[in-house]
Symmetry: C2
Subunit: 206 residues, 2 copies
DNA sequence: GTCTATATTTTGATAGAC
DNA sequence: GTCTATCAAAATATAGAC
């Protein structure tokens, strides 16, 4: 059932995750698939195209999860919770691909880099919009939405770097802890809204 | 004043940060220093020793900053604030080195990896101790101190990946936003302490 | 689709002159 | 301390048989 193209992708994901993109050779990927390295070039133009394919698929699926989560939520807080939950869960459940997608951008050609960064920017923009709406509504502490979005996104993204599927806590348990931590951090009413509103409520001026 | 050994280290930090450890060659480092690649080997045993030196120095300085910050604070909250502030500020101000230290561990020999991981574990342990004390005292929401420590540490560490020294916000401004976000996330009294205390107050069982 | 064989380049590292 | 010269190994990628 599994095509060789699929097998190559899976082996590459495994090796790129374990050793890194630059430290992984075409020969190793071929060995993992039980074929010779020349055969790889029948399925992919080269190592970089393999990396690009992995990243593109990952970003597409990540975005789809966000859209689905947001569509099912009807107020600012539940939308934010859905966004955080999707982001952290996706990064734990598809750990290898998400880790590659966030750490191997330097392996892409300029054209492919531009394409993946565009996908990432679109995703971030939606995320920042949810945060910005919450700040405008006073549900979240007024702060710099862009920096806060980076904080939340990278926080979850880094989960792919330390998570162990056979570890003490399940992905669900971690997602619940993270969701609580992030939402508390966002909430207004605390003593830590320590900057004047007119200075920091400026979500997207680059 | 600057010795060649120092110059080599600086050039290597620059290139490892920009291109990654595996994608950087000894020739490139030599070119950046204005010498031939063979001369590098007079100062360092090889590329890996260069990486190890960078990482070791970075971890030592990071630890020194934490110790100094904690020594100047006298209660749980201010100790936590000092720990977070040191961590985020260090990762922004010494962006290149900290980025390398957190993303190029796979480039180390097993012996050197063990050494750096030991330094990192010691650092994490101190950090987790501050969090654990806050939870015991009821100052922080009772939660899994280990996971929360990973959340906070990776959150700040990732700052080295997106920070731009010439960007809209200074390292100080970002540090203040992060400190507020993290402390709010930690505080008890919110509605998000959603797990039984006896289950989650279990800081260090691996 | 996969193979063998090979071209080309580059790598990390060493020897020995100066 | 830095150089020239060189080595051996490994890399990506291609040509052409089957």
């Amino acid at each position: 059932m599994a095509s060789m193209k699929h097998t190559i992708t899976d082996v590459a994901i495994d090796l790129f995750f374990k050793k890194g993109y630059f430290a992984t050779s075409i020969s190793e990927i071929a060995r993992g698939c039980g074929i010779r390295k020349a055969s790889i070039y029948y399925h992919f133009a080269g190592k970089e195209e393999l990396l690009f394919t992995i990243m593109q698929t990952t970003m597409k699926d990540l975005m789809a999860g966000l859209q689905a989560g947001l569509a099912a939520a009807d107020n600012t807080e539940s939308r934010m919770r859905a966004a955080v939950r999707n982001h952290i869960r996706f990064h734990l459940e598809r750990q290898k691909e998400t880790f590659i997608a966030s750490s191997e951008l330097r392996g892409l050609t300029p054209e492919h880099l531009e394409s993946v960064v565009a996908q990432r920017d679109e995703y971030e923009h939606i995320f920042q919009n949810v945060i910005g709406k919450g700040m405008e509504a006073g549900v979240f502490a007024c702060n710099d939405a862009k920096v806060i979005s980076y904080a939340i996104l990278t926080l979850c993204t880094a989960g792919a770097a330390w998570y162990r599927p056979d570890g003490r806590l399940s992905a669900d348990a971690i997602a619940e802890i993270y969701e609580g931590f992030v939402l508390r951090g966002l909430k207004s009413g605390g003593r830590d809204t320590n900057r004047p509103a007119e200075l920091v409520c400026d979500p997207w001026p680059i």
